[in-house]
Amino acid sequence: MTSITDQTEIAARAHPMAPFLRMDRMPHIWCPTCGIGTVMKCYVQALREAEVDLDKVAVVSGIGCTGRVAGYLKLDSFHSTHGRAIPFATGLKLGRPELLVTVFSGDGDLVGIGGNHFIHAARRNMDLLVILVNNFIYGMTGGQNAPTTPVQARSSTMPFGNFERPFNLPHLAASCGATYVARWTSLQTRRMTRTFKEAIGRKGFRFIEVITPCSTLYARLNKLGTGFHLMQYYHDNAEIRHGADTRELDIDFQGKIICGKFVDREQPTFTEMMDAHYRKTLGDKYVPMPPEGGWIHE
């Protein structure tokens, strides 16, 4: 009772994820053994399980391999400029507060060039779900050093090995004020999906880091095999410690990866604080931005 469906059009429609993907753009551009497709799939699965109104979901990506996610999702999706996915998403959210805005981008995009926007959106507790795919490298442009590249790892701009300290992303997010912080590897699909689903139901600046294999650049430049071998490394080195102190979550080169949910707290979002404050100071005269947005029409 097996079936190898080699008629792509049939399988395209039959695949459970098909309604959520732009099937006319499949197959996608990501390399064999790249993990981005897995993360995207878990996000889609989480959306299905969370039973949200998909018409109100907007996805914003930046530039890079992970930045291509927006182009494959059959939702209102935007592929903005490098590093500016978070402020773009901020504009979307403030312009139409009922939108559920997800930022789906890579480590270089979100905390390299986009670092400033990352910390301020976290500080403001902007109501955004940020999924950061961390492959420890700038993949799309050919394997340059990233703010998350572990010490010793090679990259095209650090050909003798990286000597710069990398970010500890959950710590960065938590200390800037994110209200939900978690980390998984792309191997832990079910846990990742559950975390996505939980985060979709929360408000505020939610940050989920997903460690993902990069076969063509990170694995190859560091002679680690392919993404398949990186998945084995995750299998052997991922340790789940919910609630761990974010200060201890650094990742050494081929070292332990501590995963889990680290921060989950309830705090008023930027919009809630804005509304509450204006109501207090302006009383009845305050007119908030309506949830359906500031579109003025006849």
Binding site: A14, M17, T38
Partner: protein, 113 residues
Amino acid sequence: MKYWRKPLDFERVKVPRGQVHIVVERCKGCGFCVEYCPKEVLAMSEEFNRKGYHPPKVVKPEECVNCNLCEMICPDFAIYSVPVTDGQPAAASGSTEKPASGSQDGGMREDDK
């Protein structure tokens, strides 16, 4: 399945059965599904698809318990499983819509072989 002792609810709980569908032309031969299937249902095949990758093949079809791990872990949306009840595979889980306008409509109905 080997049990070290017989579970008390053995009669009541039915282990699910599943049927694996592989989209051969979309597979990039990464091997994740083969490696991480908990029931070792799959193995890499010797065939090539049109792009030159080796897709997986189902070697132990009766072992599939429809856990969907292959579906979740495949980065290329090239494999999924459907539940099998009473010897009949169900239609794929999840609704299917018409593809976005602009894509080719091959005129084929959904096939649940």
